[in-house]
Symmetry: C2
Subunit: 365 residues, 2 copies
Amino acid sequence: MRKTPTKLADGRELIYYDEDESIDRSILDTRDLAHVSLTAEIRHDPLLDEWVIIASHRQDRTFLPPSDECPLCPSRPGKPTEVPASGFDVVVFENRFPSLSTDVTTVDDSVITDEALFPRRPGFGRCEVVLFTSDHEGSFAQLPLERARMVVDVWTDRTRDLSEIPGIAEVFVFENCGEAIGVTLSHPHGQIYAYPFVTPRTATMLESARRHRAETGRSLFADVLASEQKAGQRIVQAGRHWTAFVPVAARWPLEVHLYPHRQVPDLPALTDDERADFAALYRDVLQRFDALYEQPVPYIAAWHQAPVKQDRDLAYLHMEVFSVQRAIGKLKYLAGSESGTGVFINDATPEVIARTLREIELPET
Amino acid sequence: MRKTPTKLADGRELIYYDEDESIDRSILDTRDLAHVSLTAEIRHDPLLDEWVIIASHRQDRTFLPPSDECPLCPSRPGKPTEVPASGFDVVVFENRFPSLSTDVTTVDDSVITDEALFPRRPGFGRCEVVLFTSDHEGSFAQLPLERARMVVDVWTDRTRDLSEIPGIAEVFVFENCGEAIGVTLSHPHGQIYAYPFVTPRTATMLESARRHRAETGRSLFADVLASEQKAGQRIVQAGRHWTAFVPVAARWPLEVHLYPHRQVPDLPALTDDERADFAALYRDVLQRFDALYEQPVPYIAAWHQAPVKQDRDLAYLHMEVFSVQRAIGKLKYLAGSESGTGVFINDATPEVIARTLREIELPET
């Protein structure tokens, strides 16, 4: 896999990842795009003790364009897109409408008068888009296995690079898929956010793991995995190096966690074999999701990696993939209980969902 | 206001709250409804250290029925509904498809094999529906002021009663409004959940308040309110006893918090004057929401009350009301960043939203 970094017309970085190492990547972005600094800030919520990103300019971002105007397809004569080339394998570039950027200015200084109670900081970080394929149709589940492996390698490479930016505390690799969860562009792609702080869910998981280690001397994540492997009834599928299961206290009607069989902090710490095994298992799980209702389900796939500079031995790389689809034509909404109190109500029984997913017979691909 | 408790055909409790104290409430529910025990359990997520409710039977609940089959309207000859009477003011009854119930059995005992790592308990609690009016059309914002005050009084009464059920730890009064947040019945109504544990958001807020009190000797909530009152720019509207403001670190494109001017733990601790002032201010805020896009916005309104048995002096009753509507035809979704890491991204600047809401001129009602 060859990596070719370049710049878009407005100065944003774009990186080609190519299987064919001989391909010419010297073509330039000819669009007349002005350079724009992000105006965003991160404000602290004193009640929930969490950082919230305020990025007001994003209201204007591209919203479900017709497919012949997809900005994520390769460029064609007279139709320049975000990718100047006429074809590509995997491409990563800085989001044109980011929530965080290394090139950021804060909003008007006068808006917060009480900095002691309401701390704030610039919206520093980085938001990247990862194009899985040049093909506008399809999804990760439908990628050839070789391409799925390549995407995992690209995620790994980006994690490595973004972890080296001074001030980045956590690298979050994820995919939003489907209009039902608000995806504004349907071309198969994922995203990466590099945050300047450890995120709330990561902090909470690490706190639980720290407590468990103090009490038992063991890894909480490893204990969860071992318990699931022993019980068996929530296992969806397993590979040589990874196991996919529905968690005991699943929050979503479809929710599967994928754990590697040994503790590693992040994607770069995996072996090639482990990455290859993950790609196959993950694609298998997504294919089961799509087979469940005989139509693609909207989903969010979220990598949980260790913070860049702390708790590297306490964290345990894993992926959580979940869907709001609770039946054909029915979605799970986060309403009062979830959004008001944080109490999730799941209408699906994890053991039943796991068995249903496990028993699906997938065609060979 | 007269209170008349009765029972529905399947044994669920229904309570009439009437302005007219002479009205006859002896009519019985004639439907052939079998008594059903809830099968639900609450499972502990060891990673996020939170309880999740697993209530699988709810998949079959009534979903957007045509308005002439609304189960929340008064009964008519040949069309019995959840309310046996031919008319009513405010009615409260136990949810037919609850997530929690005092009459509950757990799911199959064999599903969890590792109780030490995965504690679970019955789905004990109570879920109530609060009908604001017998009129199928409309919303809380459109209630006459007197009725809005009566609903606040009913919320207060229910909080008092539910707090007395042994095993209840927190009473959560809320409203989900609008199809966009998954409301399955459009008749104006709210809900009340009585949880057997202190909910995650309440626990987190109390932790922050405890830390702030240890550091400063003061109430965190009172300090936030005072700071907002001093700054002024995020104030939407104020009454004699309450102030409504957009929080500094708002998570939602429309989000307003309503704080009373003195610390009280819950609704029953308010004076009559304070309750009346709240009703007027809250209705005003909801009318501003609806005026913003010249159409009703979907919203979630969430009362934050003190736990029933702890931290009564540390908590501070307030309401948070928020909407996913970020522009006409555009909704905010909780995607990867929010659902994966817990980091909210708000495309709206709180000061701008507050000014916009503040400057709306409402017609006299």
